[in-house]
Amino acid sequence: MQEFEPKIVAFVCNWCTYAGADLTGTSRIKYSANVKIIRFPCTGRIDFMILMKAFENGADGIIVSGCHPNDCHYSTGNFHARRRWIVLRNLLNFAGIETDRIQFSWVSAAEGFKWADVVNNTVAAIKEIGPYENYRKIAVSTLFNEEGASNE
């Protein structure tokens, strides 16, 4: 059987983690290709619905990462983001959504190694947990079957 290759999407801020991931590249540190990055100006910009959309569209895991506390390029965006994540994690967990599939992290522009670690550890963890079948089952794409079957 082919090994499960999780789809992981990373939502990162431009100033710290994106730059940190650049440094990972510049330093030629290797990490798993499963993770693909979407750039945001700040973690403060990352709407919780973005995370929900990721699961809906087939993500098995999500990384959300930005500047360490006190390092935000916009001084406080990450603090606001952190509050939202605290609440969101509570809600998602209570609603039965597997929050262990979401890795939140602070990775600075200087932490090229840390970025590689975060990625590799998340990939390993998601491989362990397996594909997010539960979410996949309710996704809109299940309505699509090219056979035109009726519903309900």
């Binding site: 309505l143 699509f144 090219e146 079957a149 519903n151």
Partner: protein, 343 residues
């Protein structure tokens, strides 16, 4: 066709359901779901809620589901490729254990979806649905079927109607060819009934509270009576609960759900009670305030439908009143129109 009367033993009901299922007819019937009663596919009589007055939602979803796929498509550089959904691709189904008001509600839907360019998605499902209704032995304060031309033993819209005539026996009225066909599946369980049996003795007595013609006439005349509609709807909060439980509300919306490569087109229930229902792209809303939306709801059912489709868009089931979070009781509102409006 001429109505036929038969007798079925209560004790044979499980066998009847088994026969339907074993012969490949899915059975939709009311089912207890916590405090509410849903209409769902069942596998045996056990799960069917025959003891309830009415299911929370009407039976309309048998032919008009809340989400219905009408098209699939794929997209590529060259353009869009359509994969139509065949409206006829549905199974013959038994809708069992619903009330006369549910069954007659389909008459309104037939009129709406059958008018003009006929709606094959609805019609083919409806065509393949055999409706077995149960007459009502009891009614509650929300019921007013007799005021809108129906009744607890009304057979309009039903293919078969069952009436409890004793502790052990059900009177089976075979009303249509579809009903006849369905009855053949369990013909061995039926015995002849006494043709003199008086069904009305076994059904609820629902008082007529208003004269329908008068309500229709007065509603028709009240479009400009803003004060009336405002007064009636002041506590309306503009949700769609009434429309979504209603057996005759047929408004719908189309939505495409797609990703970068493929999509589906869905037909979804909609409600004239929503402010978005009439909102234009420009920002203009011809029904700007809730009273205008309430007016639309009442007028659609009691003025426009009688005028255009020759049916009243209400079965008097009272579901909207039961479901309303703020206790808007349609029976009261219609009575008020009857009493307050002078033509």
């Amino acid at each position: 066709m001429e109505k036929e009367l038969k007798i079925l033993k209560y004790s044979d009901l499980p066998k009847m359901i088994e026969k339907f299922i074993s012969q490949g007819y899915p059975v939709l019937a009311p089912v207890h779901k916590g405090k509410i009663v849903e209409i769902e596919y069942v596998q045996s009589l056990d799960s069917i809620a025959l003891d309830v007055l009415l299911s929370t939602q009407s039976a309309k979803k048998a032919a008009f589901p809340k989400v219905e796929k009408v098209l699939e498509y794929t997209m590529n550089k060259a353009g869009v490729v359509q994969h139509p959904v065949d409206p006829a691709d549905s199974k013959e189904t038994i809708l069992f254990g619903v009330r006369p008001c549910d069954a007659s509600g389909f008459k309104s839907l037939d009129a709406i979806f059958g008018e003009g360019p006929s709606d094959q998605f609805y019609l083919s499902k409806k065509e393949k649905t055999t409706i077995i209704s149960f007459s009502c032995p009891v009614a509650d304060e929300y019921c007013f079927c007799t005021s809108v031309g129906g009744g607890p033993g009304n057979t309009a819209g039903s293919d078969l109607q069952f009436t409890s005539v004793s502790k052990d026996e059900l009177l089976v009225e075979i009303l249509t060819e579809k009903g006849k066909k369905a009855s053949r599946i369990f013909a061995d369980l039926l015995t002849e009934a006494n043709s003199a049996i008086d069904k009305t003795k076994f059904i609820a007595d629902v008082k007529v509270v208003f004269d329908l013609d008068s309500v229709v006439a007065k509603t028709t005349a009240s479009f400009g009576n803003a004060e009336l509609w405002l007064e009636q709807s002041l506590r309306c909060i503009g949700c769609g609960a009434c429309a979504f439980v209603c057996p005759t509300c047929a408004c719908f919306d189309f939505q495409d759900e797609q990703d970068t490569k493929k999509g589906v087109r869905l037909r979804l229930w909609d409600s004239c009670g929503f402010s978005l229902f009439t909102l234009h792209t420009s920002g203009h809303n011809p029904r700007e305030v809730q009273s205008q939306r309430w007016r639309q709801r009442i007028m659609h059912k009691f003025a426009y439908m009688p005028e255009q489709l020759k049916v009243v868009g209400c079965e008097g089931c009272g579901r909207c009143s039961r479901a309303c979070p703020v206790d808007m009781n349609i029976k009261e509102h219609l009575t008020a129109i009857r009493e307050q409006v002078t033509v």
